[in-house]
């Protein structure tokens, strides 16, 4: 029973961790209609910022979280219009061109980090690193709780922003129908830049947490891209609420299969779930995807 509870908690927290870097990914797809392959690159950039803040400045890794938002949000804001232009160009298959662009961006980020910061695996330390709380027989790793709280806060914040503000309305309108939104006076180009900046900033913030929970090196980015993509497909592309549900679902499946069946079957179980959900509900588990 103790192990069962621990496994359930482990699973929910893995889900929380995955959700952190998937939520904004969904928003980008919804608004820009781009599957951003570079998501793992933004995660790793955030992780490195966390590492350098602790290693060079001797500060707590969490200090890097707001910094990551500002720094990489600004970088994303600059890249956003390029992506928008490619996505809306008159070339044949602009959606594939955009995918290729983000793939190139990912490769550039990875190669650049490898050249600039080397291949050693780095760690982000924070006040919560390695700390845990015993609740009865269950051990609660606090850093993961922080990540889950972060995911919930970001999802909640985005929800409020999208449904309670005028700008949020414009974003939703753009996601629904770009041309009509433009006719209503929404500056789509600027909005796209803002959304991509918001996404890059949030994802890099999640990256600081990933560096604190796992570790960071230029090669781990691909893993985050893959998981973001799994979750996005399971959730239904573009569905922010679905992302949280799907991430939790994947986390719990991974934990239970690892503990009770065998770790080597965990990815198999995840793929099988993805397959079944896509067969039964191609628009994702909440049927809200595009």
């Amino acid at each position: 029973m103790d192990l069962f509870l621990q496994t359930l908690l482990n699973g929910l927290l893995i889900g929380g961790v995955i959700a952190t870097f998937t939520i904004a990914f969904q928003l980008t797809f919804g608004v820009l209609h781009v599957i951003d392959f570079a998501v793992g690159g933004w995660v790793v950039l955030g992780g490195y910022l966390g590492y350098y803040v602790t290693a060079l400045l001797g500060l707590d890794g969490f200090v890097a979280i707001p910094l990551a938002f500002v720094l990489f949000g600004a970088l994303g804001y600059l890249i956003g219009p390029v992506l928008y232009n490619v996505r809306n160009s008159r070339t044949a298959r602009p959606e594939l061109m955009a995918l290729a662009l983000t793939f190139g961006l990912f490769t550039l980020l990875r190669g650049g980090m490898l050249t600039a910061w080397g291949f050693n695996t780095r760690n982000v330390t924070s006040m919560l690193s390695g700390e845990s709380l015993a609740v009865g027989p269950v051990i609660v790793p606090l850093i993961r709780v922080a990540a889950a709280v972060f995911a919930v806060a970001i999802a909640g914040g985005l929800f409020l922003f999208l449904y309670r503000t005028r700008y949020g309305l414009a974003i939703r309108a753009t996601a629904e129908n770009r041309h009509n939104a433009a006719l209503m006076g929404v500056n789509i180009r600027r909005l796209s830049a803002n959304v991509y900046g918001l996404y890059a900033g949030i994802t890099a913030m999640a990256g600081v947490l990933m560096g604190a929970i796992y570790s960071v090196n230029p090669e781990v980015g691909l893993r985050y891209t893959l998981f973001a993509f799994f979750v996005a497909v399971l959730a239904g592309l573009g569905s922010v609420g679905g992302a949280v549900v799907a991430a939790l679902m994947l986390g719990v499946i991974e934990a239970f299969v690892s503990t009770y069946v065998g770790s080597s079957y965990s990815l198999l179980a995840i793929f099988a779930t993805l397959f079944v959900v896509l067969l039964a509900s191609p628009k994702g588990i909440l049927r809200r995807g595009l």
Partner: protein, 423 residues
């Protein structure tokens, strides 16, 4: 007028091209002669210079280069009283075996290397072996540690480092003897990828050989999260947790264990803990982690190119900016094997195809003492052409430093066992 200009310039362009090609073709033989007259031995290094194994790939490259620099500083390899320098050529396998095979073929066909120095990973090594066989070029591997590398009895491939099943298996026996009170139960975690899995299997088989009890054997996917596995193992309370994996997973095992407030009496990892980045990343949490190495700068071996192990280490530290680990040492020692074999072969560069086959036979007869330890290749059995002479040394991180703790004759410090609970 415009069209006249265009056709004129096209004609001129074609004419110019033809002239250039002719000149190139005429010049070619002279270029080749000039190259042949330089009279150097050409060695190709095929390893991971990009991709996920870039860390290990650079360790191997650095090791091979250390030898080339050392021998060239002495004037080169001595053959029949004359000295010939060594030219190094590099091929990148991009951490992908198939790419490695292509790169090896390029080194052999385009760069016309006499000999290859093998890749960092076992996967690439296995992929390159058929290329060596096809072109009859010997390859000396300073790194590949998988037992699978030797199972197919590769005629042209030789390995300096004992295969991982021999070292990880034996290390648990050393651990059981060194620990006090003696460890009894073991759980093994290994990442489900070739090298890591074989390390894990080595540990698993070593458990039985050492008379210990195996309580769990977990294969985790490289993308997986470790919390479920660590929680499961914590519930089984083994004395020893043995991990097969590269640095990143090792770092994550320690972090995840600590975040779940679980610490076994001993945590042993085969590879990676001797890389300074490991202790750097984990800080104080790295203390107490046990590892296995086949070479340390403190061993008492020596040779006449590098001097003692300590002298080699000092020279390498100066050049690489950090203490060399056993991979760099094994790769540097690969060069010593080549130098010795070339000397015995007595053929001057460039080697003919027949010479290369004879070189392979000369390498097979290697029986030398080096700063790395004794080197002699198996002539039969499951470790065919592997050097299984070195005895594994148990090391532990103490105060951020890697120190030898077992077996007794090699120990520089007491083994900390059982590990204290996390603070």
């Amino acid at each position: 007028m415009a069209s006249f200009n265009r056709s004129f310039s096209r004609r001129r362009f074609l004419g110019g091209s033809a002239l250039a090609v002719t000149a190139g073709a005429l010049g070619m033989p002279f270029v080749r002669t000039a190259r042949a007259q330089a009279a150097t031995f050409k060695a190709g290094v095929i390893t991971s210079l990009s991709g996920e194994n870039i860390l290990g790939g650079n360790l191997t490259k650095q090791g091979y280069d250390l030898w080339a620099e050392a021998i060239n500083a002495k004037g080169g390899v001595e053959v029949a009283g004359e000295k010939f320098k060594v030219d190094m050529f590099y091929g990148d396998d991009q951490s992908n075996p198939a790419t490695g095979a292509d790169a090896a073929e390029r080194l052999i066909v385009q760069n016309e290397v006499d000999v290859l120095f093998g890749p960092y990973t076992s996967g690439s090594t296995i992929a390159v072996q058929p290329i060596c066989q096809k072109y009859q070029v010997p390859m000396i591997s300073g790194s590949a540690e998988s037992p699978n590398v030797w199972k197919a009895k590769p005629e042209f491939n030789f390995g300096i480092i004992p295969s991982v099943d021999t070292t990880s298996g034996l290390s648990l026996g050393v651990l059981a003897k060194t620990s006090n009170p003696g460890a009894k139960t073991v759980a093994v975690i290994s990442v489900n990828e070739p090298f890591s899995k074989e390390t894990g299997e080595g540990f698993r088989d070593g458990v039985k050989a050492a008379g210990l009890e195996l309580v769990a054997y977990e294969l985790v996917p490289p993308e997986g999260d470790l919390t479920p596995v660590i929680s499961k193992i914590a519930a089984l309370k083994p004395d020893v947790v043995a991990v097969g994996g590269h640095e990143e997973i090792l770092i994550n095992v320690v972090k995840t264990s600590k975040s779940l407030n679980y610490r076994p009496k001993a945590l042993i990892m085969h590879y990676g803990i001797t890389n300074p980045a490991f202790a750097q990343a984990l800080g104080a949490d790295a203390d107490g982690v046990t590892g296995v190495v086949v070479w340390l700068p403190t061993v008492t071996y020596k040779d006449d190119v590098f001097g003692t192990a300590k002298e080699f280490s000092e020279m390498a530290t100066k050049k690489l900016g950090g203490e060399p680990d056993y991979t760099a040492a094994g790769c540097a020692a690969s060069g010593l094997v080549l130098g010795d074999a070339l000397k015995r072969l007595g053929k001057k560069p460039a080697l003919t195809p027949e010479d290369r086959v004879a070189l392979k036979d000369a390498i097979a007869e290697t029986d030398i003492q080096t700063f790395y330890g004794p080197i002699k290749f198996e002539k039969d059995g499951p470790h065919y052409h592997d050097n299984v002479q070195p005895v594994p040394v148990l090391v532990q991180i103490q105060g951020g430093k890697v120190v030898a703790v077992g077996p007794k004759e090699a120990a520089a410090a007491d083994y900390i066992y059982p590990l204290p609970a996390w603070k």
